[in-house]
C-alpha cells in the first residue's frame, strides 16, 4: 500500500489527517466563541454534542485522526533519524529560510498531546464522558453546563497560562503544517508557496486567537 510503504504516501497520510484536524479546530473554535455571546446558547451546543450517537461517531472519527497522525509522526521521525545516521556535524548552522517550527514538529506535537490530556481532564471527562457512563455528578457541574466549566477552569491563572502555552505550540505547529500539507499534496509552486504561507499564517493566527480570546475573557471575568 503506497500510503505506508512510500515516503510520499506516508507524508500524504500526515497531511490528510493534519488538514482534517485543522478543520476540526476551526469548528471547535467557532463553537467556543458562542460562549462569549451567550452562555445559554453555548450550553445548548454542549447539550447537542453530548452523548448522542452522532456526536459519539464524530468523536471516534476524530480520535482515529489523532491516533493516525500521532503514530505516523513517531514513525516518520524514527525513519528519518535512521536515514540521517548516527554521525552529527561538529559545527552546523541553520540557514535563515528554515523555520524553527519545521524542525521541531514532533516536539510541538508532544506539547499538543500534553495539553490535550489536561484538556480531557478539565472538560471532556466531566462532560461527554460523564454522560456516556451516565454519572452526571462526575464533575463540579452538570455535564452540559459547558459555560460553567469554562468559567471554573479559566478562573485559575495557572490553567490560563498552561492553555496559552498550549495554544502557542499549536500556532507554531500550524504555521508550518499548513503550507507543508499543501506542498505535500503537490498543490504548490513558486507563486503558490508564498500564498499558502501567508494564508497559513493568517489562518493559524485567527484560529489560535479565537481559542485564546475565550480563555483570556473568562480569566478577566473571574477577576471582577
Amino acid at each position: 500500500m503506497w500510503l505506508s510503504n512510500s515516503s510520499i504516501g506516508r507524508k500524504v497520510v500526515m497531511s490528510v489527517t493534519g488538514v482534517a484536524l485543522v478543520l476540526f479546530l476551526t469548528f471547535h473554535m467557532s463553537m467556543n466563541l458562542v460562549a462569549l455571546f451567550s452562555e445559554d446558547a453555548y450550553n445548548m451546543v454542549c447539550e447537542f454534542l453530548g452523548a448522542n450517537w452522532y456526536a459519539l461517531v464524530a468523536t471516534v472519527a476524530l480520535a482515529a485522526l489523532f491516533v493516525i497522525h500521532i503514530i505516523y509522526a513517531f514513525w516518520l521521525t524514527m525513519l528519518n533519524r535512521k536515514a540521517r545516521g548516527s554521525e552529527r556535524y561538529a559545527v552546523s548552522q541553520k540557514p535563515k529560510s528554515v523555520e524553527w517550527a519545521s524542525q521541531n514538529m514532533l516536539v510541538l506535537g508532544i506539547v499538543v498531546i500534553l495539553g490535550l490530556l489536561l484538556h480531557f481532564a478539565n472538560f471532556w471527562y466531566k462532560m461527554q464522558f460523564a454522560e456516556i457512563i451516565g454519572d452526571h455528578f462526575l464533575g463540579e457541574f452538570g455535564p452540559t453546563d459547558g459555560a460553567a466549566y469554562i468559567a471554573y477552569t479559566f478562573g485559575c491563572p495557572v490553567y490560563v497560562v498552561i492553555y496559552l502555552v498550549w495554544l502557542l505550540a499549536l500556532w507554531f505547529h500550524l504555521t508550518h503544517g499548513f503550507w507543508s500539507a499543501m506542498q505535500t499534496f503537490g498543490w504548490s509552486n513558486k507563486i503558490w508557496f508564498e500564498r499558502w504561507r501567508i494564508i497559513g499564517n493568517v489562518y493559524s493566527t485567527l484560529v489560535v486567537l479565537g481559542f485564546a480570546v475565550v480563555v483570556v475573557v473568562y480569566f478577566f471575568k473571574s477577576l471582577c
Binding site: 512510500s6 515516503s7 528519518n80 561538529a90 559545527v91 548552522q93 540557514p95 506542498q183 503537490g186 504548490s188
Partner: protein
C-alpha cells in the same frame, strides 16, 4: 590591497566507513585571498606529503562548479558559507585572519564515508538508473526545434537540470532526504514533451529507489534549497509529489 590570511583548519579524518574518525588540526600560514578553497587544501596536502604524513583525502574533479564532486561541509554549511556556489567556487578571501575553519564530510546514512572527507554518493547513480532518463531516441537538435515548448516550461526545466548531483541537499537535511535531487531529476524531464510520456513511471521508479536506499521522508524544512549550490527550488518537490500522487491514484 590583497588579503593574506593565517588560520586554523580542523579537518575530519576517518580511515574507512567503519572507523570512528576524529578531527586533525592544522595551522595554515599566509594564504592569499585569491586561493580557492580546494587549492588551499592542495597546499595543505603538499605540506603533509613533504613532512612524510598522509595527505587529506577529498573529492574533486572539474573545479568549476559543474561536476558536483567537491562535497565538503565547511563551518556548518554544505559547500561553505557562500550561497549558490560549490566548494570549488569559494575563495579564501571569504574567511578572516585567525579564523578556525571546520571541514567535515557529508554526514548522512545514505552517503557513507570512504575516507576522510570523501563519501560514497553512488546511491544517486542508482536512483538515476532507476528511471532518470528518456527511453526513446528523441532525435537531433533540428527535431527538438520542431517541437514548440513554452518559454516558462523550458526555463523551469533548465533550472531543474542545473542540479549537479552533489548531494548537498541530503547533507543539509535533518531527515537525510534526497527529495530535492530526485525532484530536480524528475522535473527536468517531466516539464518537456520528450519526457512527459514517461513522467508517471519515472516518478514512481525513482522515488521507490530513493526509499529503498534508505533516504528519509521530506518534512519540508527547506534546508536543502537554502544550501543547494544551484539554487534548485522546492517547487520541484511539489511537482514530484504531484506526479507521484497522480500516478498512484491512477493505479
Amino acid at each position: 590591497m590583497e588579503k593574506i590570511i593565517s588560520f586554523t583548519l580542523k579537518i575530519w579524518r576517518q580511515n574507512g566507513p567503519k572507523d570512528k574518525g576524529h578531527f586533525d588540526t592544522f595551522q595554515m600560514k599566509d594564504i592569499p585571498g585569491d586561493t580557492s578553497f580546494l587549492e588551499m587544501l592542495d597546499i595543505l596536502n603538499e605540506q603533509l606529503v613533504s613532512e612524510g604524513k598522509e595527505p587529506v583525502v577529498f573529492d574533486h574533479d572539474c573545479r568549476e562548479g559543474i561536476c558536483g564532486m567537491c562535497s565538503l561541509y565547511i563551518n556548518g554549511h554544505p559547500h561553505g558559507p557562500a550561497t549558490g556556489a560549490t566548494t570549488c567556487q569559494i575563495y579564501m578571501r571569504r574567511f578572516n585572519d585567525g579564523d578556525t575553519i571546520t571541514v567535515e564530510p557529508w554526514r548522512s546514512a545514505g552517503f557513507p564515508v570512504i575516507k576522510d572527507l570523501m563519501v560514497d554518493r553512488s546511491a544517486y547513480d542508482k536512483i538515476m538508473q532507476a528511471g532518470g532518463y528518456v527511453s526513446v531516441n528523441t532525435g537531433a537538435a533540428q527535431d527538438a526545434n520542431a517541437i514548440l515548448i513554452p518559454k516558462t516550461a523550458a526555463d523551469e526545466a533548465m533550472d531543474a537540470a542545473s542540479c549537479i548531483g552533489c548531494g548537498a541537499c541530503v547533507a543539509a537535511c535533518k531527515n537525510g532526504s534526497a527529495m530535492l535531487f530526485v525532484s530536480a531529476k524528475v522535473s527536468q524531464l517531466a516539464l518537456l514533451p520528450q519526457g512527459k510520456s514517461e513522467a508517471a513511471r519515472r516518478a514512481k521508479a525513482m522515488l521507490a529507489k530513493m526509499d529503498e536506499l534508505g533516504f528519509g521522508n521530506c518534512t519540508n524544512t527547506r534546508a536543502c534549497e537554502a544550501e543547494c549550490p544551484k539554487n534548485v527550488s522546492i517547487s520541484n518537490i511539489a511537482r514530484l509529489n504531484r506526479e507521484f500522487i497522480k500516478a498512484k491514484l491512477k493505479d
